[in-house]
């Protein structure tokens, strides 16, 4: 900056300095225990290690490859990586069938590689959590191999065995399209074993204290290595009881409290993120009284975001948020647009599901199970304004946002790949061979990268977007850095602002601290420009300051506050106190009709 600049004169009097000093990007993290609320303000980035970057030219992404790309992730501005399962596994369920809890799949590297990853990530101010499947193991796990040998070996009761397959008929079959029963016959032991998911994934027996201790040992092992927490896969199913559905049982909550106790006592600041697909009021049980999981995914919000922008009205969003309990103090919802699974439509009505299928899965190949197997960009026809609108919602609604790898460059999907592989193709780094993902031969790649004219790596890649300051990647980076300056987006209270235009969704995020900031976020869910009169009563006489440009807008008066929005447009305003210059004199504007 030139030394002749006169910031004190040039600064607009209505714009106080940001209330919070931004965390400089790239400063090594404070120890987690010194900042126990970090996850409430964090932006998570979901990494599919297999598809991220291949460091050893074998066609499969690995942990060293992820280390090599940490500078990029730091540049992007994410706070925490969430790794899909990296454990040894026969890979019959994308690694969610774990064959060894204390090791790393050889495709991905070694435990030492993981330790390096943690050190290097922490050095860059990035935390790392990992998937952990505690409900079941692979049938190739040594525990199960031993358990199935006989009815009296030391691990005989580590799994759930029964002589017939009639017990617990109330428990539904989760994977109805592949499994007919929750019981499977083991010819060796001549008994049935219990499995809530695939028959090659036997459920562990949590009524056996040895299993509980073994799993706590696994948790300690990885936390000792430096991991910052776990995403707990399929938590509701840990126990079975007669006459129940076997989901969300009190015993399951008791186990999670015990797990949380270990973390609070021995590893303060590390986190548990629960995957429980259900209505928010039910899922919130996994927060406990702040003594179970730190974060729970909010599943029903995501399809309603898509529904709202197609219907051009806010009600799908406001209705689900009205049914969403506040996370208890010290806890947080996790929200997302897309992830490694299909866009699941379990949490919408049949009518809404038909509508979303009709809107977003015009080709039957796009349907997967109870959902839509597409990435964000193809879902939105790569509409830049609509994509920005949805990210604006993701980054400003209550909850910690989770970004899926590749969505930051608007990557596409491959519908011709089976099951969920359509959204797990290699990350597109450059326009070079294999999209810069790997230097292996093309035929060696775990999945082919996209090469179509719209989404192929020649057209869509990180290098091109990094070079172009007006790319979506740069836009998202700016928004992530902006959001980071204002913790209120993570922890603030949420209140919908009344507005009679049904296409406009406006809300205020208010800091729970007495002197904290308030953010007004206004979104146009329509593809046409819209006016909106906002009823900002409690914020009368505040001055909205547009966040990206710090542009002061007119004061909020007694009348509804008028804003205009471009198609799919949005505003983020900080609602600042009136201009300090006027504070001593008479108010510059006497709001008309103010009560005497």
């Amino acid at each position: 900056m030139s030394s002749t600049a006169e910031p004190s004169l040039l600064r607009s009097p209505g714009v106080p300095a940001p209330a919070v000093t931004p965390t400089p990007v790239g400063v090594p993290l404070p120890p987690a225990e010194d900042d126990p609320g970090w996850f409430q303000r964090a932006v998570f980035y979901e990494v599919f290690v297999r598809g991220f970057f291949d460091s050893d030219d074998d066609g499969i992404g690995d942990l060293r490859g992820l280390v090599a790309k940490l500078d990029y992730l730091q540049w992007l501005g994410v706070d925490c990586l969430w790794l899909l399962p990296f454990y040894p596994s026969p890979m019959r369920d994308g690694g969610y069938d774990i064959a060894d809890y204390r090791s790393v799949h050889r495709d991905y590297g070694t435990v030492d590689d993981l330790r390096d990853l943690l050190v290097e990530a922490h050095r860059r101010g990035i935390r790392v959590i990992a998937d952990l499947v505690i409900n079941h193991t692979s049938d190739t796990h040594p525990w199960f191999e031993e358990s199935r040998q006989s009815r009296d070996n030391p691990k005989a009761d580590w799994y759930v065995w029964n002589d017939d397959d009639q017990r617990w008929p109330e428990a539904r079959v989760v994977f109805v399209d592949t499994e007919r029963s929750n019981w499977a016959w083991d010819p060796n032991r001549e008994q049935y074993y219990w499995h809530r998911f695939y028959s090659h994934q036997p459920d562990l027996n949590y009524d056996n204290p040895e299993v509980v201790e073994a799993m706590l040992g696994v948790v300690r092992y990885w936390l000792d290595l430096g991991l910052d927490g776990f995403r707990l896969d399929a938590v509701p199913f840990l126990y079975q009881r007669d006459g129940t559905s076997g989901e969300n049982l009190p015993e399951t909550h008791a186990f999670i409290r015990r797990l949380r106790g270990v973390i609070d006592d021995e590893y303060p600041g590390r986190i548990l993120l629960a995957e429980a697909n259900g209505w928010p009021a039910d899922v919130a049980d996994y927060f406990g009284d702040g003594d179970e999981c730190h974060l729970c995914f909010h599943f029903p919000l995501m399809p309603r975001l898509f529904m709202a922008v197609r219907r051009e009205q806010r009600y799908p969003i406001t209705e689900i948020l009205a049914q969403t309990p506040d996370a208890p103090e010290g806890a947080q919802w996790a929200i997302f647009l897309r992830n490694h699974d299909e866009l699941t439509l379990e949490m919408v009505s049949e009518e809404e599901r038909d509508y979303l299928f009709a809107e977003y899965a015009k080709d039957p190949r796009m349907k997967r199970h109870m959902g839509i197997g597409r990435r964000l960009a193809p879902l939105l026809d790569r509409d830049r304004r609509l994509t920005e609108l949805l990210y604006s919602l993701l980054l400003s609604l209550p909850g910690s946002p989770v970004v899926y790898y590749g969505d930051e460059v608007q990557m596409g999907d491959n519908l011709y790949l089976g099951d969920r592989d359509s959204v797990r193709t290699p990350m597109q780094w450059t326009p070079d061979r294999n999209g810069g993902f790997s230097r292996a031969d093309f035929a060696q790649l775990y999945l082919p990268p996209l090469m179509d004219p719209v989404y192929g790596f020649a057209a869509v890649n990180v290098e091109a977007q990094q070079r172009n300051p007006s790319s979506f990647l740069h836009w998202l980076r700016r928004m992530l850095h902006l959001r980071r300056q204002f913790p209120v987006f993570g922890t603030g209270a949420f209140e919908v602002v009344p507005c009679s235009n049904p296409s406009v969704l406006a809300y205020v995020r208010t800091s729970r601290e007495p002197e904290g900031t308030s953010m007004l976020c206004v979104h146009n869910l329509s593809r046409f420009g819209q006016p909106a009169d906002l009823y900002l009563g409690p914020w009368t006489a505040r001055q909205p300051v547009e966040l990206v440009g710090r542009v002061p807008f007119p004061l909020v008066g007694n009348d509804p506050y008028p804003v205009t929005l471009a198609p799919y447009g949005f505003w983020w305003f900080e609602l600042t106190e009136p201009a300090p210059l006027l504070a001593d004199g008479p108010p510059a504007i006497q709001p008309d009709g103010a009560a005497p």
Binding site: E359, P502, G537, A594, A595
Partner: protein, 483 residues
Amino acid sequence: MSPVRTVETAGRPLPEHAYPALAEAVAAMAARHPEWLFPMLPQGIPAPPAVPAIDLAAAPGTVGEPAAPVPSGSTVLAGDVAVRVADVVVPGRPGVVSVVADLGPRTVHALLGLRAPGAETFPLPDADEAPVGLLDLDDGLGVLSDALGDAQYCLALLGAVAGQQGDVERVRRAWMSDESTAIAFDDRIALAVYGRLPAEPAPHPGLEMYLALDEVGFNHVAAPIARWRRGGWDLGVVRDYEPGAAGGWALALTSLRDLYASDGPPERAGADFGPEARRLGTMAARMHLGLDQAYGRRPGDVVAWVGAVERSVQRVAPELLADAEVADLLAALRSMSVPCPAIRTHGDFHLGRVERTDLGWFVFDFSPGGTPVFGAGTVPPGMHAGAEGAGPVYRSPLADVADMLWSFRHVADTAAAERDPSGRLGLSALARAWESRNRRAFLSGYLATPGIRGLVPPATGLARNLAAAFELERTAAKLALHA
């Protein structure tokens, strides 16, 4: 649900020697309230020619937007005003006086603020704060102005009617319609004041119906707080206020604009209205079940209804009766032998009378005795000749259903004309597709509501036929209004 408070303000009448001054003030107020006089009757004060016709069926412009100002030259003179009663509602200065007066054949209700000369005013935005007169009473000279145009009078009125002011921070005009002017307090509660009253003291039928529905637990209405009465007239009501509500008309337009721009079938167009139409149908059925619970039912006379439909069509479009389909429809209904209950109905149920809030659909402005705007000489749809004075009107709930279905057609055509005034784009096929989809959705929501089958003909085909006949009547009434 806390009980609705009823407040009488007949306690402190003003002396008759104040009437001439009050008449002057009411005459001056008339210039600010064109809705008091619209539409004009043949004799009496000439209607101001520049006031646009209020399209009641469409109605979107009548709610939430101020009425068009009366041009100068249509002045009401004090001699045209006969003060019936005048009461002090809020004593002292500043105080509020309520005046019921006859303007020619119309009976109106004016609220006048009274303040000491030179006292401070707190005008609401867009309000005309100019004094409308002076009042010289025993306690000294007072300046009269429109009480609903000034925050201090509005607050005092709220205190008098609702019993407490609380710590209100913001006062705003919420809406001005042909029936009422409403003031919002902190965008939380609204005081609606009726400007036009029946000639003889009588309860406001729409207000009674609204309160009765609330009483039986129907929750698609804003919660009432207090009812303001004076000598048998209903002067106003205090109720919850939901400023973020979107009018049904506006929401339908949102859908139609997207459809007309996208050229697809309506169920594939982005802003599909179908699910909302379905929810609206469910609300309509719940409303009718509530009205049945509140007022009971009577046996309906299908033949008489069909006769009335025929007569009203005969008046405006006799050629329609020669149409084979119409003739078949009416004949089929005449020979219908199944019982068809009659209940009290909304009376003017269309997209302009419903609003979508973040909680769901709400309904307002009940007109169970017909709408004043239709005028004393005309027969509003579904209100058959001779109904007036013969007690409350009972008719098939399908008459309300027909009004809403009719309104789907009307909004689709309105949006098409808005986008394509020349008609060159050929939007009418899309308009019909939208209409038909949302009719079906509304009806399926309506007929799928548990309990509603007891109020409509048991066979869906019969129910549709009867609704079609009522819709014909609605169209005829609309044509009559424009004739």
